[in-house]
Symmetry: C2
Subunit: 575 residues, 2 copies
């Protein structure tokens, strides 16, 4: 096993520690969640010295397994008050794994206002002043660091939002072009990093050996099947590479489950203007990039580079959920304005889902007009100015709703709902309600069987079968997050009997183990149990596993309400 | 029994309803808490149509019983998310009782932005436009209404804070001079009134009969003993009349439990400058009033009128907790600046405790400098300007701490701690932690036996005996709140064996009952059980019955930490 790297941010010291038995064999979300349960007092203040910010590569990260370069970040969440794992691509996961680091743990907090930069390479760790980076956005920070430390170092950094400890703050990762298009977005983990006065972390694996593969031939064979599986599935092999995740705009709108004007309708009249098809056309016309990987070894390549009217770079990693949040949810129809808002979020270090939903709440509360993209840009710019409006908006949807007296705020466990109406996509609705993460589509993506006919078909409007759907997906997703695999592999895994066995074979070949698919699912269950236990200790009850009352209203065009009982929802993670 | 007056704020209709059996015999807090438990869905949004705002006179209100003119206001709290009863003097309680109204219940909420005024008199109810009062502070509103409806009508109104639905918003009552010096301060009930677009309620009991007394002679005899008891106790007969509640500044500072600079010390070097003695001297020098009642029939008269340097009116109802919150807590030393902040809170309709603690948090977060009174005044003025800073500050201490990334915020159940350090006044600390109201000294005033040697003596620094102290006081207080009696009668009741029997005799004579003191205490218990049940249904657990981790640090000068276990604290209301 590798080592835990613990950094005391107050004393500016570090220790490498043999991974103790209790954490052995765990990676990614399995490790961050277990460590938080064991080491973070559940009732501590998320911005206090007792919280820890933990980064853990998945157990396949660093290996040649396709799409295995995702990094888990975990802490007690400033947004939800519960446990949080937030997952992103980029370069750091594979580099940490190659450096033999199982987890990077930031502990304690300094008292002053000085920021530090952590540099990790094969020779050790240095903790340097980051005062030259303070008040800079992630674009400038990453450019500076790539210029200083060489291209292709992995970078984790916070922008102005993280410095202000805002609940919507993300931790951004340099993508393969050194831009902050990848983010540990959800749950405000950037605020935890800001509270510990760490502006950036640079990970350089130059000179590090490859990760050890116990059975190289078996690994190679399994990975070959794995790549084929991903390339042959219509979603991971065609839809996502061609149009990115924005392929979903027209699909979800057609299904009547694209939340529009703060969840008043499931259909947006102007969906075409913000669709994946329109986006791809625009990108091509302006010489952007429609198909790009977020980390080496990805074969899905759902990312992109979006240029502005002038043909110059405007934003990158421009995703469906972002386009929805700033688009249909707020009724802004201009793709360039939405791209600008995305870029600003990446630069300030803000979760685009939380922030987009928040802009809609600011419209609901009369702060700016519905659909006014320029007003949204002006309002969001206040975050970069450290202005009072920014301290409202940057703290997310519930906070902004509370600031403005809005009683219609779509959150679960204080986290904003993503881009699928739970009433007409009940599989994901059950996930929103019950995942320990707060409303999060990636925790159990019921859109698969509800809308996309992946892994079977379950009526998205009826309750029947959707508890079971969410349960299965939440368990599998937790395991996928522990492996360091991209969530999108699930499309292929759900439609291939050989999917889970292939993952088991890669793990077995990598570590010399004898895991079965059942072992992997048992790992997923244990992750969820740990997360629920932390939340219980933090004061969560079944009352927190519900949608807010606004969803009792039926949503057009299908006029379906949300009507699961508390008791039924509790069955979801009752194992 | 009297009638329930229900007002539908959306339809602008009202109904008088016979008080149903389930609410029979209940008044004040007993009635508001029972109605909220029975009629308000515990998980509803506090600003939504499903919350109800309920005003109930105590069961002795309207009678000649001394100090029985307190009104209970109840709702699901926008600040705590739990049940709330907030209690104030003024003219409304006695007038509602004389009009035969057991409770006034505001239901539903309108959709537009038009405000209404509710006028209640012996002929019925009218619901009128209040558009001429919008954006006006409570001083102007009350002056307008007394001019329009006659002096001595009872008035409940909200200022700019309530209109903005801020969590720190109070509902103010006209005092005997028609000024908003009395407030249902805690828990943000002004925001509930604002969400229902009710700007003011005018209660005129002209022409109403006296309340019926079943046994006038017995009542007269009991009330005579009651008045003697209040007049003969050193606190209610001497300390409070002479110096008001500010008599406590020097006492509490001397005891080392006056929270200073956001609870960093229990002693304030400049306590003398903000003491009751200094205040009384200043009031006399400037021809103010040191001794005034908040409602007719009060014999304690702890209120006052404070003039500015120019000899003109500056503020009224200037209380110990207010002086502490804006004074020792923020380290502001200038009594006139503190009086100005008090006046602004009364005018905007803000809880002075929540707001004073919030100003300290703004200092903690670097928004303004410690001890800078003028900066505090400038910042608070933003609430009246509907500015973004005001939407932060007006939402209270936790909200402001979250806006500024402050991890040292003294709240329980999201409500700011009042003016006694829980570490060195553990009897009140147990109350802060365990009362269903959120941190509230008035829910079980352990200062009595901890510091004042009233009702016995219990070491304020040791855990022993303080659970039991808080338990007894919480039960008795709930009953006192149900009777409509001022909390301060407790001083006399605790030191007189004849206290509780005398209250029972007044109730029996008023209603023709045979209550014993035990019945009264059983009522207190049932109130607390109802409140705990509501909170449980709203998602509260024993985790919410704790102080935040900042209180684990010992506080000078006595260097005592807070170290009750969750299990011990749960014994407090375990009946």
């Amino acid at each position: 096993m590798g080592k835990l790297l613990r950094i005391n941010t107050k004393e500016k010291t570090f220790t490498f520690e043999e991974t103790p038995d209790t954490y052995a064999g765990l990676g990614g979300r399995a490790l961050t969640s277990k460590m938080i349960l064991d080491e973070v007092p559940a009732t501590c203040h998320p911005l206090g010295k007792n919280n820890k910010l933990i980064f853990a590569p998945g157990v396949l990260s660093g290996s040649p397994a396709a799409d295995s370069g995702r990094l888990s970040a975990g802490a007690k969440s400033p947004l939800t008050g519960g446990i949080k794992e937030s997952n992103a691509g980029g370069l750091v996961s594979q580099k940490l794994a190659k450096l033999g680091i199982t987890a990077l743990v930031l502990e304690d907090k300094p008292e002053g206002n000085d920021y530090s930069l952590i540099k990790i390479d094969k020779d050790g760790v240095s903790i340097e002043s980051a005062d030259d980076l303070v008040k800079k956005g992630n674009y400038a920070v990453m450019e500076t660091l790539w210029n200083k430390y060489g291209k292709n170092v992995g970078v984790l950094s916070i922008g102005q939002a993280g410095e202000q400890c805002l609940k919507g703050a993300s931790i951004n990762q340099a993508d393969m072009n050194g831009r902050p298009g990848r983010a540990h977005g959800r749950g405000g983990l950037g605020a935890v990093m800001g509270s510990k006065k760490i502006k950036a972390i640079v990970v350089d694996d130059s000179g590090a050996p490859r990760v050890e593969i116990k059975d190289p031939d078996a690994f190679k064979a399994a990975n070959k099947r794995w790549v084929e599986m991903l390339r042959n599935h219509p979603v991971t092999g065609e839809g996502l590479p061609a149009l990115g995740t924005a392929v979903l705009v027209n699909v979800i709108n057609e299904a009547g489950t694209l939340p529009t004007k703060n969840f008043r309708s499931g259909r947006f009249d102007h969906a075409q203007a913000i669709s994946g098809e329109t986006m791809a056309e625009t990108i091509e016309k302006r010489n952007g990039i429609t198909t790009e990987a977020c980390h080496p070894g990805c074969v899905i390549k759902c990312s992109n580079v979006y240029h502005g009217k002038d043909g110059n770079f405007l934003t990158c990693g421009f995703e469906y959920e972002t386009i929805w949040a700033f688009g249909a949810h707020t009724t802004i129809q201009d793709m360039d304005q939405i791209a600008t808002l995305d870029k600003m979020c990446d630069d300030f270090g803000l979760d685009t889902i939380e922030t987009g939903v928040t802009i809609g709440i600011a419209m609901e509360g009369g702060m700016i007009a519905w659909g006014d993209g320029q007003a949204a840009i002006d309002l969001l710019s206040k975050v970069g100015e450290y202005a009072p409006e920014g301290k409202i908006i940057g703290n997310g949807a519930l906070f902004t709703g509370d600031a403005l007296g809005v009683d219609r705020v779509p959150v679960v466990k204080k986290q904003a709902l993503p881009a699928y109406d739970p009433r007409t996509c009940k599989g994901v609705g059950v996930t929103y309600a019950t995942t320990p993460m707060g409303a999060d589509h990636t925790a159990g993506y019921g859109v698969t069987a509800n809308i996309l006919s992946v892994g079977g078909t379950i009526d998205p409007h009826k309750n029947e079968g959707n508890i079971e759907l969410s349960q299965g997906l939440q368990i599998a997703t937790a395991a996928v997050d522990a492996a360091g695999l991209c969530l999108f592999v699930a499309f292929a895994v759900l439609d291939n009997e050989d999917g889970l066995p292939t993952i088991a074979q890669m793990l077995n070949a990598r570590y010399g183990l004898n895991l079965t698919p059942d072992d992997i699912l048992e790992l997923g269950k244990s992750i969820l149990r740990n997360e629920k236990e932390f939340n219980k200790k933090a004061g969560f009850t079944e009352i927190d596993d519900q949608l807010p009352e606004m969803f009792n209203e039926p949503v057009p065009p299908h006029n379906v309400p949300w009507d699961f009982t508390i008791e039924d929802l509790q069955k979801t993670l009752n194992f």
